[in-house]
Amino acid sequence: MASVVRSSHATGSELKKKSLIPYFLLAPGLIWLALFFIAPIITLVGTATKTPGAGIGEFVQTYRWANYWDAITGSAGQFGRSFLYATIATLLALAIAYPLAYGIAFKSGKYKNILLVLVVAPFFCSFILRTIAWKQILGQNGPVFRLLLDLHLATPMTHLTASAPAVIIGLAYNFLPFMTLPLYGSLERIDPRVLEASGDLYANAFTTFRKVTVPLSMPGVVAGTLLTFIPAAGDYVNAEILGNPSTKMIGNVINAQFLNTQDYPLAASLSFILMIIISLLVMVYIRKAGTEELV
């Protein structure tokens, strides 16, 4: 995953040509993706324009494209909130992960590999367990809240959990490894001689960082922010565990429509709209950042 950055030398000149072998290698995996990724998305689009039929829980295809409009207008607030929370969480994760990745790449010597493993290690302690842990750490009985009470920074009536900041902290936390690894990947590739050259040309440490390190790490910044923003925008677990009814994100709506209300057309159109908005944002962002190949 550390490599979700540009790998331009993969398209070198020594690639073998004119052979059927690559197609045999590709076939099994791509067929799997066609059946269980492409076909489902097409089915989803089809489901979105259905309307309720005669029986209960039955839907018939009537190509009612207005379903999409109803979905957008009905959940505009949750859409807006999702993208707002995801943006703040992504910036927060970037602010935490950049120095972390920088330190691992340049300042950790022989401990580099161990520190890299430690970045991914929390994944193995279930993410739901860790989100619940945050709820209890920030909760009324938790250590943070009691400390704030003792310092008279909080009253027993205030809440740290069940709030928008708690949801955002949870989102930033959950996807931190996805931010750190691509950043590390691009920082680690920087030739130290380039940094020395900058110093030789009388740039101070800060100027070197701003004018050399940051631009060279841009592929990592782009990959990391995308890998954080996309899952954060579609998440509902953090809003469910750390939020309250007024912090509901679009994920909560889609999840409830699919699994509780079972209004499949509405849920499908909401999912499809979410996917389209994210794709558009990603395309604009990649174009602005000037990174063409991500994989």
Binding site: M1, A2, S3, S7, A10, G12, K17, Y23, L25, L26, G29, W32, F36, F37, I41, T43, L44, I96, A97, P99, L100, G103, V117, L118, A121, P122, F123, F124, C125, S126, F127, I128, L129, I132, A133, Q136, I137, N141, Y173, L176, L226, I230, A233, G234, D235, Y236, V237, G251, I254, F258, L259, Y264, A268, S271, L274, M275, I278, S279, E293, V295
Partner: protein, 265 residues
């Protein structure tokens, strides 16, 4: 005071790293600490230290079968996704062919789609096909989202290989098959095992996609989520902590072994 500020500015990055890692590990430490809690009903308030939860990790209903399902699904999905993904990675890393751009896009798209959309769209197709949701639909879903991560990881490893090593093997009269078997594959193998570990961790920890396609099958994350409201038993903390330390152990052991192999050569 002056020396303190100087020390601080010199070690700013290190201080920052400590803060970053602390943030990463606070919930893990909390989960671990509360696995020793002598809890009654819900594991919310500290009531005293006990070894009982670690002695009886299966002491509450459903938790161990859920863990078993997660491990079985994780191993199966990892096995299939690693094979399919590695084949694609070799095609992309070693061959020029028509449809390369389309393939790259197809690999990138699942990573760029919110899990919710992946899970929901799979559910609609399973419902339309009248398939029974359960163990196998979860495996199918997990393989689907793991493939891309395997491709990306293995492809990066292939791209970082020094092409001169393979040329040297050819110069020494190894044919294409032998070069692959004795030079290319061993060099790519660490990338493949890294990809497999990543795939397992993604599968083992997945909640959103699984929740859509699980039917009545319970995995460990589903167990934790559904029991969170009524009060989670400390056994869940035991299993979460144990998996965390097990993973660390496997990775560290892998590092030591690969270092020994390198020295041995």
């Amino acid at each position: 005071m002056k020396s303190l500020t100087r020390w601080f500015s010199r070690n700013l990055i290190r201080v920052y790293m400590v803060v970053g890692f602390t943030y990463l590990f606070i919930p893990v430490a909390y989960t671990f600490a509360f696995s020793f809690n002598d809890y009654v009903k819900s594991n919310l308030v500290w009531r005293g230290f006990t070894w009982n939860n670690w002695k009886q990790p299966c002491g509450v209903l459903d938790v161990c079968p859920a863990l078993g399902n997660s491990i079985k699904i994780g191993l199966l999905a990892t096995f299939i996704a690693t094979i399919l993904g590695t084949l694609i990675a070799f095609a992309l890393g070693r061959y020029a062919f028509k449809g390369r751009a389309v393939t790259n896009t197809l690999i990138f798209l699942p990573m760029a789609s919110p899990e919710l959309v992946l899970g929901a769209s799979l559910l609609t197709i399973f419902l339309n096909l009248g398939m029974n949701l359960g163990f196998w639909t979860i495996v199918i879903a997990h393989v689907m989202f793991c493939i891309s991560f395997v491709v990306v990881t293995v492809k990066a490893r292939i791209a970082s290989l020094d092409p001169r090593l393979e040329q040297a093997a050819m110069d020494l009269y190894a044919d294409e098959r032998e070069t692959f078997r004795r030079v290319t594959f061993p060099l790519v193998a660490p990338g493949i095992s890294g990809a497999a570990l990543l795939a397992f961790s993604l599968s083992f920890d997945d909640f959103i996609i699984t929740n859509f396609n699980s039917g009545t099958t319970i995995t460990f994350p589903l167990y934790v989520y559904t029991h969170a409201e009524r009060g989670l038993p400390a056994q869940a903390n035991v299993i979460g902590s144990a998996m965390f330390f097990l993973a660390l152990l496997i990775v560290v052991a892998g590092q030591i072994v690969s270092k020994k192999v390198k020295v041995g050569k």
